[in-house]
């Protein structure tokens, strides 16, 4: 099956994929849901920024400052366009998705028309990353609100059978993942958002695994907030983003106070900058924003549709191959329908840590553990999974190397 994406050409863009590990074996990198590798264009953008344009932004009058400011704001324009944000001013840079989610969960505890209080309810799901669980637990503790959640079905989908009991007139916020980092599940966020809006709740989507690998449109999703991170989408670490609906962002109080987020500061009180700067306190990750902009250019140059098609194709191939491994159980949807490119599995009688360690010894990089989504493991009565995750540079040969590696795992632990 052809997907219109030339994987071999793509691989040449990623210097690290030429690396050899452990006795000169080719690196088989199947851990992109953890962090993606970076194309040359992003590395060059980072180095180029520091070599030629480095300055602080929005606060100096010299040529470097003008260039750095333009490049930083250019990064914002690119990311805002990528997710079809109605306005670039609604796109706030953060250090990562965790900070983006904490921004929302913290400001909702404070005085605003959206303030959460005793008797209110916050709804999440059992398949969230810890970064979309803990901030809401903290919000509930701080405000006296109650945290509730959707469960997971045996085949790794959200159990929406009790949606009308969970989302009620008491619900103030619904926060859920668009694509699960552990199960791979693609959730029907638009339908859930529509139901949440009927009761007047805000909707937050964690799109960390979705933005890198498929077209994401905040307007079509109908959410109020969308959080994502740069390093999983070919960008640098240290930068992520929060898109929020203008009407809501304008009424929320600032999250962090500091430089550049103000309009006027007097000893008796301060007023705040307009969006998005109200939420960007202190010197921001400037080079990282430039690098993220380059990553967006890179991804859109290939095309998110083509990337999504490749992801579907390689995930489908991987599921087929893994189904043929005796003792292997997929944890999550075991068909390539409505899922992303992260595949978790268990191997009978062998702990995932050991699976990953042996795979590493043959050059195959995967992640083992609870993937910062421990409740998912609890749900399936397991301690951990091994997770292989794919991206635009993943080949069928690499999936084959994974399957061969699993034979080696079994040999060691026979």
């Amino acid at each position: 099956m052809t997907t219109g994406l030339d994987v071999e050409a793509v691989r040449k863009d990623f210097p690290i994929l030429q690396r050899r590990v452990h006795d000169d074996r080719p690196l088989v990198y199947l851990d992109s849901a953890n962090t993606s590798q970076k194309p040359r264009a992003v590395l060059d953008a980072l180095a180029g920024h520091y070599e030629l344009h480095n300055a602080n932004i929005h606060r100096a009058q010299h040529v470097l400052a003008e260039e750095a400011t333009a490049a930083y704001e250019g990064g914002r324009d690119k990311v805002a366009a990528l997710i079809n944000a109605p306005s670039r001013d609604e796109l706030i840079f953060t250090k990562n998705a965790s900070e983006a989610l904490n921004l929302v969960a913290n400001t909702l505890a404070w005085r605003s028309p959206y303030q959460v209080g005793p008797g209110d309810e916050i709804v999440i799901t059992e398949m969230e990353h810890h970064s979309n669980i803990v901030p809401w637990q903290l919000l509930a503790e701080r405000t006296g609100a109650t945290l509730r959640w959707f469960g997971i079905t045996d085949d790794g989908r959200l159990d929406l059978s009790n949606i009308d009991e969970l989302i009620t007139e008491r619900t103030k916020v619904v926060s859920l993942v668009l694509v699960s980092n552990t199960l791979g599940t693609l959730n029907p966020v638009a339908a859930i958002a529509a139901r949440a809006h009927e009761v007047g709740a805000l909707v937050v989507a964690d799109a960390c695994q979705a933005v890198p690998q498929m077209p994401v449109d905040v307007t079509a999703l109908g959410v109020d907030f969308l959080a994502f991170t740069g390093h999983k989408m070919c960008g640098p670490t240290g930068i992520g983003g929060l898109w929020g609906r203008r009407e809501v962002l304008e009424q929320l109080p600032p999250f962090l106070g500091g430089g550049e987020m103000i309009e006027t500061v007097r000893m008796t009180g301060s007023t705040y900058a307009p969006l998005p700067y109200k939420f960007e306190a202190g010197t921001m990750p400037i080079a990282e924003a430039v690098g993220l902009g380059a990553a967006v250019d890179y991804l859109t140059g290939i095309g998110l549709d083509a990337i999504a098609a490749h992801e579907r194709e390689i995930t489908s191939y991987a599921l087929d191959q893994l189904h043929g491994v005796p003792g292997l159980r997929i944890v999550g949807p075991d068909t390539p329908v409505d899922r992303g490119g992260a595949v978790s599995f268990t191997l009978a009688g062998i702990h995932p840590h050991d699976v990953a360690q042996v795979l590493d010894s043959v050059g195959v990089a995967v992640r083992a553990g609870h993937h910062c989504a421990r409740p998912v493991c609890d749900r399936f009565g397991i301690q951990a999974t091994t997770r292989a995750s794919f991206y635009l540079y993943t080949t069928r040969d690499e999936v084959d190397a994974l399957v061969r590696g699993l034979d080696e795992v079994k040999r060691v632990f026979a």
Binding site: H22, H351, P352, H353, D354, Q357, V358, S361, A368, G369, H370, R374, C377, Q383, A384, V412, F413
Partner: protein, 160 residues
């Protein structure tokens, strides 16, 4: 990296046929330790009588390294005076923190020398130490002067 430096035969044997496994009575202290990065966990009980580690029993789930090292631990400390057992624990900790740079003392560590290779894998050191750190805490509690610590342990048992 040579995989067989990590997965020594002794380790795989203890993993497949663990010693001392299963929670037993009587005991003086019980602790529950987890490895937050991977979710491995162990519940471990210690019985101390007349200054001797009379029993160590445990239940848990985890990788080969964590399970085998807890199995080896029970072999090494049961029957020893507490002070000698603590010395073994300290030597094992020193080995695990050595990044492969120290020669293990086989006189003290016996089967546990097999874990020397683990110290070269920083992500697995915590696995090897899971049961040992649990034992250390349980033993501290079991040997604390009658009073607060013992009371805490007793309360936890009552609430278990």
């Amino acid at each position: 990296m040579r995989l067989d430096s990590l997965y020594q035969e002794i380790i795989l044997d203890h993993y497949k046929h663990p010693h001392g496994r299963g929670l037993r009575d009587p005991y003086d202290a019980e602790v529950h330790h987890v490895n937050p990065t991977c979710g491995d966990e162990v519940t471990l009980r210690v019985r101390v009588a007349d200054g001797i580690v009379e029993d160590v029993s445990y239940d848990g789930a985890g990788c080969s390294i964590s399970q085998a090292s807890t199995s080896v631990l029970t072999d090494l400390v049961i029957g020893k005076p507490v002070a000698d057992a603590v010395a073994v624990q300290e030597e094992f900790l020193r080995l695990m923190q050595s990044k492969g740079a120290v020669e293990p003392d086989e006189e003290v560590l016996e089967d546990a020398v097999a874990f020397a290779g683990v110290s070269k894998y920083p992500s697995r050191v915590k696995c090897a130490l899971l049961g040992w750190m649990a034992w250390k805490e349980a033993t501290l509690r079991a040997t604390a002067p009658a009073g607060q610590d013992r009371q805490v342990a007793a309360d936890e048992r009552a609430n278990a």
